[in-house]
């Protein structure tokens, strides 16, 4: 595909920003495949609005906003797009998981363990750095909803993140250490 049937600038925009949008989608969904789906669906909408966006808008901001709203709406359909576990869960023994997975995999698994609405709020709040009011306006919900979703997400993830931080600070006294990149 050369992009010959696309309006001026669109193919260049997609080619240059697609990797970043895929990574953003991965954060919003906790999964690379779903994240790429999300990015492509959003880019279809960007295509439709391209004439307006290309001339006087910010196509990347528009695309990201579409992705966020789609991910938020997907949260209404709990688990339907969740990624099945690659392996049966085992007895939880803190630390063991890190022997076989690197930090990135652990963080993505932790993201996937969150309900979609909590994941979206977490990414907007702590990755994109938006305020609670900005997130509420973006998602069309109350700041109370944003606070509760963020709080629950943090409560769930705190243990994971704290474990990773602890591992970064030094090797464990017993067993193999984690593989950190």
């Amino acid at each position: 595909m050369s992009g010959t049937d696309t309006p001026p600038g669109f193919a260049e925009f997609v080619s240059s920003r697609y990797p970043a949008l895929t990574r953003y989608g991965t954060l919003l969904t906790g999964d690379r495949g779903h994240g790429e789906d999300l990015a492509q669906e959003a880019l279809v909408k960007t295509f439709r609005a391209w004439r307006r966006l290309h001339e006087q808008g910010d196509p990347e901001a528009y695309t990201r906003r579409v992705m966020v709203r789609a991910a938020w709406r997907a949260g209404r359909r709990l688990w339907r797009r969740e990624v099945p576990a690659a392996a049966p869960p085992e007895r939880p023994t803190p630390g063991d998981a890190y022997d076989e997975h690197d930090t990135a995999a652990v963080v993505l698994a932790a993201l996937r363990s969150l309900p979609a609405s909590q994941r979206v709020v977490l990414v907007l709040r702590y990755w994109a750095g938006l305020s609670e009011q900005e997130i509420a306006a973006e998602l069309g919900c109350s700041t109370g909803t944003v606070k509760s979703r963020a709080s629950r997400a943090m409560a769930t993830l705190r243990q994971t993140f704290t474990s990773i931080e602890a591992m970064k600070e030094g090797p464990r006294p017993y067993g193999r250490g984690p593989r950190l990149r």
Binding site: L43, F47, R76, P89, P92, A104, V107, C141
Partner: protein
């Protein structure tokens, strides 16, 4: 902490590369597919509209808004859980046994104890700690399962408040107790009359619960009792808290009849595919005597109600306001 989280999230996706080599082609392909779907949908809509006009001329329809959905219905008696091809089947619920896990059925011993009559017990490969690696599937008659949580209020009184609710794939609603927050999560499926007890840590329980599928039964308008001696309604304040003031109990037969009529008048049946309730939503609980329960999701993004006897409908703002008024509740 915020900076650390951002760094971890950045790190998590730093190595992510798109699987598509030609994203422009992929996007344009999606656009063409979307246009085709739209064209087909338009054609179907035209055909249906034409058929509707013809049908409208031929039939004297009672309801100008279209045929009314039937009342939802679920079996009265609880099922007997069984295992078919490593899938636990109970009512409309299907729970695949995780790879490597074992199954205990009634009468068979297991390292994690005996499965009682009408129960199936599945347990992990490493069953040295059954309290952290087993799931018990059992059943219960109507209302012989947790329907809410008792919230203690100042003054020693307590009111029943709704449990977190989620919609399982396939559409069956499920109530959660200790919703994946502790090492023991209970999940009740009122339509199937099935109880699942996850003796697992939260994320593991959530992952396995995510594999549950349900058959699309129970949809339709709300299936309600004919009459009850009393009804209780608990809904949250604007702050999200349940208080004495946000709880109402009525015993007047005329008012109870109004409540039932109001609920019966909600005609927008919600299919399993369209159901939207999820844990964390604002929810309310309507106890119809000790005979039946109606769960209401009254979140800004999702307003629907389902009866434990079957049926799930979309709720209008007006219906929620009216229900609140009938119980004499003033939401603050």
């Amino acid at each position: 902490m915020t900076q650390h989280i951002r760094e971890l999230l950045d790190h998590a996706v730093a190595g992510i590369e798109p699987g598509t080599r030609d994203p422009v082609a992929a996007v344009m392909g999606r656009r063409r597919a979307a246009r085709r779907r739209k064209a087909v949908a338009g054609a179907v809509a035209c055909v249906l509209a034409a058929a509707g006009i013809a049908g409208g001329l031929a039939l004297n329809r009672h309801d100008a808004n279209g045929p009314m959905a039937p009342v939802g219905s679920v079996p009265v008696e609880p099922p007997t859980p069984r295992v078919v091809d490593r899938v636990v089947v109970a009512g409309a619920m299907r729970l695949p046994v995780p790879d490597g896990w074992r199954v205990a059925t009634p009468g068979s011993d297991s390292p994690c104890g005996r499965a009682g009559d009408g129960q199936v017990l599945i347990y992990g490969e490493t069953s040295d700690d059954c309290a952290r690696s087993s799931i018990r599937v059992s059943t219960a008659k109507v209302l012989a399962y947790p329907v809410g949580s008792l919230e203690d209020l100042p003054g020693g009184s307590g009111i029943m408040t709704p449990l977190p609710l989620l919609t399982l794939p396939g559409g069956e609603p499920a109530l959660l107790r200790d919703a994946f927050e502790t090492g023991h999560t209970s999940m009740v499926l009122p339509w199937s009359k099935v109880i699942l007890e996850f003796n697992l840590d939260g994320p593991a329980a959530r992952t396995i619960a995510g594999t549950i599928r349900t058959e699309p039964v129970g949809s339709g308008r709300l299936n309600l009792v004919d009459s009850v001696p009393y009804a209780e309604f608990s809904r949250p304040e604007a702050s999200g808290k349940f208080t004495v003031a946000s709880h109402g109990k009525i015993t007047d037969p005329a008012t109870i009849a109004e409540v039932l009529a109001l609920l019966r008048d909600q005609r927008k049946a919600v299919s399993g595919e369209d159901a939207c309730s999820q844990p964390g939503d604002r929810a309310a609980l309507l106890l119809l005597g000790n005979a039946s329960v109606v769960y209401l999701t009254i979140d800004k993004d999702c307003q629907e109600a389902f009866s434990d006897r079957g049926g799930r409908v979309r709720l209008s703002d007006k219906a929620v306001r009216e229900l609140t008024r009938l119980f004499g509740i003033e939401v603050r």
